[in-house]
Each structure stands twice: as structure tokens, then as C-alpha cells.
Amino acid sequence: MSVVAADVSKWAVRNVSFELPPGSVTAMVGANGSGKSTLLNVLAGHLPPSSGHASIAGRVAYVPQHKPMYRSFKVADVLQFGRRMNEVWDERRADEWLTRFKVPRRLQVEDLSGGQRTHVTLALALGSRPDVLLLDEPLAELDPLARHKVMRELLTEVNDNGMTLVFSTHVVAEIGGVADRLLLLSNGRLLVDGDTDELLEQHVLYTGPHASKSPVEGPVVLAKHGRSQSSYLVRSGGVRVDEPWTARYVTLEELVVAHLERAA
């Protein structure tokens, strides 16, 4: 069963196809211009796909990267706007989010810091009780402590309300244990689509003497050769290797960088 299904082409995004189950947390990763925002806009229904389809079961909330809000609105006005514009509205949920992150209700949007604007848009999005929440770079304007806290609170919302979360990010080092699904985009194509734990268990880096061939079976993601050494990142599923080769698992960040280097 899936709650998000897409098979989309739009501008640079070509034939990107995936399905996400309800209650899943998906990190969309890719360089600038790789098509993340276009894809999120199509999923949110803000842009029609040029071909293919995108469908989401239930209510969707989408927070774009530039966080559009009326600059002259006070924070309290933004909440009232949310109450009037949404058929389903949970004032308490929105209000609690603002209280939790200590956002003053009387300030105008234009006087808020980037981090506070993030909190207001998240409060607005959560207040609409979405089944699927789409966030474009939600953590970009937050300090490291706030990033951790926001993620923790979002995951609690996912757990308590069965919400499905899709977010784009540059900071791959922060998605371990947070996202159970990784979508890696490059130049509008989907390079990797997989369960983050399984990806970590599949990819192994083998290092040994200079060799023109991988020491193990399996698809080679990236091979590097120095003067006397070679290393192969292989989707081997954890196959062991004989001396003098050594094997180790890689981090999500190394895995992402290797796939991007290979595609470049």
C-alpha cells in the first residue's frame, strides 16, 4: 500500500518513479538544481507534470524553501489565516508548536528570524492535519540544536498521527536513523531509491593492492586507483574478502557522494 505514488517528468526531472508507504519518513537528497524542488512542487500539486502522474492519498501540506507568508501579518494573524483557509484545522497543534519553539505571537513576519519563520510555517502546515507533509529544506535556517529538536518533534508527530513525511536536505550526515527511505536525485534522475538501513548493509568499501578488477562479485559503484592501492565501493551485500584486501561499511554520506561522483 502506498500513500504517495509518482511517475513524473517535468522540466529537468525525467522519469522519476517511486511509491512511499504511509507513516514513512523519506529524505530527498541531491545537489542544487538536481530537481528536488520541482519534484516536491509536482507532488504538492503546484505544478502539473509534463508527463506521467503524481498522486497523494489524503491531505497534503507543503512548505516550500522560501517559506511564503504575508510579511505584514503578525504571527497570530498567520494562525487565523490558517484557521480560515483550511477546512480541517487543529488550532491546538499549531499553537503548541509555536509555544514549544517560543515564537512570539505579536511579532510581524518580517521581523522574525529565519529560524522563527521556519517554526511559523511548520506550525501552519501541522495545523492543517496533513496525511502527507512535504518540506523543502526545512532545516536550512536552523542552528544545529534546533535542527535536532525540530526533527525529533516531527518524528513524534509521524509516530503519533501516522503522518507520512518527505523532506529534502543537503545534510546527509543528519538523516541516519531519521529517514527510513532515501531518494537520491542527480540531474533530474533518480540515482538511488532505497531503505536507508538496507543501503548501509549493501554497500561495502574494499581496499587493497592496485587491481583492475573488483575483488568481489556485485555492482561496483565507484573504483579509485592510487599508485599502489585500489579501492572499490561495491553493492556486495557484505561479502567478506581475503587478505590483503580489507573491507568496511561506509556512512550514508560516503555512499551518497560515491553515487554522485559516479553520475558526474
Binding site: 519518513v25 513524534t156 509516530n159 550526515a173 536513523g177
Partner: protein
Amino acid sequence: MVEFHVDRGSGYPPYLQIGQQVREALRLGWLQPGDRLPTVRDVVATSGVNANTVLKAYRELELAGLVEARQGSGTFVKASLGSAAPEDLDPLREGLAKWVAEARSAGLEDEDIYALVREVLSGGAQ
């Protein structure tokens, strides 16, 4: 109550990190048979990991026969790990702490210490 710490940047899958921490708590006697593991919601709220990650960790521990899920009341420790009694562990811990302090003052880093411990455990370099 045990609290889990997940290293997000690690190449070791987060659900296995949680499993390892439970096993360590069992070995050190911090968790005993009958103790309840933190609820999934508590772990999500305190450690900031995905609920699916916690469920997966608990399921793996259940398959290993270490814990059991009781419908509606949580996940409980079923078996203990390690054979040492807590009163035997204490003097050993003290001795080890003294040794680690010595190693550090000799300039060893954590990785050097692990390598040395592994080497001695495997009976190498005799």
C-alpha cells in the same frame, strides 16, 4: 531507564546501534529480566530517531530471544547476557579504569586502546 544514543553519521545502521546498546546494558546488568524497555514513543521523543528504526531494533532483539513484546504493555527483557555477577564486575571496572588512565597518559587514543584490547583478546602478538 536506558537511553539510546544514535550516531546519525555512522555507517553502522541505527537499528543495530540500538540493539547493541541493549545488549551492552544486559551485559553490564543495567537491564535485568523483567525490566521494560522504553516505549517506542519515548525513544522517538528523546533520541530523535524514526519509530520504524526503534521497532526494527526491538524486533531484532525479540528474534534473538532477548526481549518479548507483551500486547498492550510494552517490550520486556526476557533473558540476561553475560555470566558475571555485578559484584564481580565492580573491581574489574575499577582496575580497567586505572589501566585506561595509564594508557591515555602514555598517549594512546581510543582507537589504539581498542586495537590493543582486540589483539590481547585474540591471543595475538605473543
